[in-house]
């Protein structure tokens, strides 16, 4: 599994808040991708019906996932492919490494895959002295920089042109003042070579159609098509939730995915692959392997409160819509998935006590749910995970919630337990706030409330609360 840094959320977020250049890139997600999605949604006549339909299809598929996985495996095998079910990322990695050894693979080209990030596959391949090159341009940049993707859809959104200039100068010897076109063609030349040399292509999967065993990939650079067709062996890795029952469903899902992800009506490429090269075909790989991975997803499946996280089609719309993501950026979340969907799945996939800050890293504004093409109720799941953190099933997670906070909650509960307690709390509150109040405002509070007053003043408790004014009578 990829390194888990979810405990560092606060420090990583503080770094990002202090980085003006990244703040500007993140702001552009609202005006760019988020507005693009809204425009497409408005221009698509039956947008809401599509969302409802997709949600129904996903709910049905996930409820009957065993059935559809079996159907998919059978159809992939009928088409001449091989299927491997991996319980966790270690098993999936082992399968791929064994296969690479058997095929004497020296170099691998990769299409974009978040699951590969979960597995930290490039590192494992490198240990076996197999060179793995990312072919999605954004992923390629991130790989050159030795980083992880910043965003599901735009992995290098945090990098500026000068960052890219620096990277290409250091790694490819490109003129440090090269323009965008020059940079693009340098990347193209470099990657072309790799495509020709590679012994194996590894891609993710946007969808897998169960009734036909067809892998569907959505890209804008055509790298998906080259990764699936040029090398002798093609391995596709997918989380088990990527399954979709029928080809007919693709009409719904492609429309929703692409419009929600990039604000395009259709991506430059939609690649559909069914098995390896057949006898009547002239190109394509000799072997096709599909690795279907669980890696903690059955924990989501088992919990009815969290199951709908598996409806996710990884469009990234919830990241673009999220005002918290637009401040803290992708790396702060400390693991593969970021933004609202990351705050839901990372704690479950990496274990709640590891990532207890993530469900709280949200103002619960609901912009994610509003944006999600599948109407996944992300805020509801964040709330549920919060309750798991404070009163969770596991002792270890319970111990993780702060004793000060627990005490404050208890005290608050007593204070609002009834009207007489509330009157008493009002009195105590007014006494406590005395040293801090000026003109009815509190401008500087002691910890743990000092964070609040760093950015805003706080109103003082009223000496005549509404309830006593009501008693006296409200003037017309």
């Amino acid at each position: 599994m990829a390194e888990i840094r979810t405990k560092e959320f606060k420090t990583l977020a503080a770094d990002t808040l202090g980085n003006d250049a990244i703040q500007e890139h993140l702001k552009a997600l609202y005006s760019g991708f988020n507005q693009g999605r809204l425009q497409q949604a408005a221009a698509t006549q039956n947008w809401e019906d599509l969302r409802d339909r997709a949600r129904r299809v996903k709910a049905h598929t996930i409820e009957n996932i065993d059935h559809y996985l079996e159907m998919a495996a059978e159809n992939v095998e009928n088409a001449g492919g091989k299927v491997f079910f991996a319980k966790n990322s270690e098993a999936a990695t082992k399968y791929i490494l064994d296969l690479a050894k058997q095929k004497e693979v020296r170099s691998v080209i990769k299409g974009k895959s978040m699951l590969s990030e979960e597995m930290d596959l490039n590192r494992h391949l490198a240990k076996q002295e197999i060179e793995a090159v990312e072919t999605d341009l954004g992923e390629y940049l991130v790989q050159l920089a030795g980083q992880t993707p910043y965003h599901i859809i735009v992995p290098a959104i945090h990098m500026s042109k000068s960052d890219v200039n620096e990277l290409f100068h250091e790694n490819l010897g490109v003129d440090p003042h090269a323009g965008v076109e020059e940079l693009a063609s340098a990347a193209r030349n470099e990657l072309r070579e790799k495509f020709i040399q590679a012994d194996m292509g590894i891609t993710g999967a946007n969808f897998l159609v169960a009734e036909t065993g067809t892998l569907v990939l959505v890209t804008n650079e055509g790298n998906g098509r080259m990764s699936t067709s040029m090398p002798k062996t093609h391995v596709a890795i997918m989380g088990m939730e990527k399954i979709v029952p029928s080809m007919e469903d693709m009409g719904t899902f492609l429309r929703l995915l692409i419009r929600s992800a990039t604000g395009q009506r259709i991506s430059s490429y939609v690649t559909m692959v069914t098995g390896p090269r057949s006898e009547i075909e002239e190109d394509g790989p000799e072997e096709f392997h599909l690795v279907i991975v669980d890696n903690g997803r059955s924990k989501l499946l088992a919990d009815p409160h969290l199951r709908e996280a598996l409806y996710c089609i990884r469009c990234g719309a919830c990241l673009n819509a999220c005002p918290v993501y637009r401040k803290v950026g992708g790396h702060s979340y400390g693991w593969v998935y970021s933004g609202p969907i990351g705050a839901v799945v990372s704690p479950v996939l990496t274990d709640v006590p590891n990532a207890k800050d993530l469900p709280y890293a949200s103002s619960l504004c609901g912009a994610c749910k509003e944006a999600c093409p599948i109407k996944i109720d992300l805020p509801r799941m964040l709330l549920y995970l919060r309750s798991e953190v404070t009163e969770g099933n596991t002792d270890s997670s319970r111990k993780k919630s702060s004793p000060i906070e627990k005490f404050a909650m208890k005290a608050w509960q007593v204070s609002v337990g009834g009207p007489s307690m509330m009157r008493l709390a009002n009195l105590i509150g007014r006494l406590v706030q005395l040293p801090f109040a000026r003109n009815g405002r509190l401008r500087l509070l002691p910890p743990p409330l000092s964070g609040w007053t760093r950015h805003r003043s706080f109103p003082a408790i009223s000496s005549s609360p509404f309830r006593s004014r009501w008693k006296k009578g409200i003037k017309p």
């Binding site: 709280y360 504004c365 709330l383 909650m409 509960q413 337990g417 109103p459 509404f466």
Partner: protein, 251 residues
């Protein structure tokens, strides 16, 4: 069967209004009365339980929620000057009581009688043009901040704007990104004070750019947050609850 009379409502004023902003409660009463509504106030009320629920302390939230159900069971119209508290009762009580069928049913029933103030005025009373009953204030420009729960949990996006537009002497200057969260989010603003503060700064930038003299919203907690930031930065834009604007005009 006769239709329930929308002229009788029970006001749930919310704990924050009660303790910190009692004048918003008074304005709510005056606005409702001017529309011919008879308002009751049950003095046993405290808090709907949202602060604990949102922080993950569901055990602590449950007794308060049950208390709420006991108090308002059988009441036809419960009106609150807060989209957030109304969402708590109407939407999130169902989550809180997910494992208790009896309470779940009671929560659904009571929840269906709960309204946020602007929803009640427009959707139930059918107020279209506030000018018949509200006093007119000095002409002034206001901008509207859409409170998150009102928009996304209750789905009320038009009601408050309708009321603002119908108030004589008030011009609505829409700010950019009016639907984006101000960064309050309850304990989020304390736990992640700096992230919340950065969100607040962006909101304040948009409020200033709108050129308005006052920022109006339907939730006092957003306004407490936004107003606290405006005050800290010495920006002369007034935070104003919708009830106050309808009551007094946007002076």
């Amino acid at each position: 069967m006769s239709q329930p009379d929308p002229k009788n409502v029970s006001l749930f004023v919310t704990c924050v209004v009660d303790q910190f902003f009692p004048e918003v409660g008074e304005s709510t009463i005056r606005v409702l009365r001017r529309h011919g509504v008879d308002v009751e106030f049950n003095s046993d009320q405290t808090c709907c339980g949202q602060p604990a629920f949102n922080s993950g302390y569901w055990k602590e939230a449950r007794p308060l929620a049950e208390r709420f159900l006991d108090m308002y069971e059988g009441v036809e119209y419960v009106v609150m000057p807060s989209g957030s508290c109304a969402s708590m009762v109407r939407v999130f009580y169902k989550e809180l009581f997910h494992d208790d069928p009896t309470l779940l049913e009671r929560a659904a029933e009571v929840g269906s009688h709960v309204f946020e103030l602007s929803e009640f005025l427009v959707d139930v009373l059918g107020v279209n043009d506030a000018s018949e009953s509200e006093q007119s204030g000095t002409p002034s420009r206001v901008t509207y901040h859409e409170a998150c729960h009102l928009r996304r949990e209750l789905g009320a996006t038009t009601q408050a704007r309708k009321l603002i537009n119908g108030t004589p002497g008030v011009d609505l200057n829409e700010m950019e990104q009016s639907e984006v969260c101000c960064g309050f989010g309850g304990t989020f603003a304390v736990k992640y004070a700096d992230i919340s503060g950065a969100m607040l700064d962006e909101k304040i930038t948009h409020i200033r750019a709108s050129g308005a003299d006052a920022v109006v919203a339907c939730d006092i907690t957003c306004l407490m947050h936004i107003g606290g930031g405006l005050e800290k930065q010495d920006i002369p834009v007034r935070p104003m609850h919708l009830a106050e604007m309808l009551d007094k005009g946007a002076v």
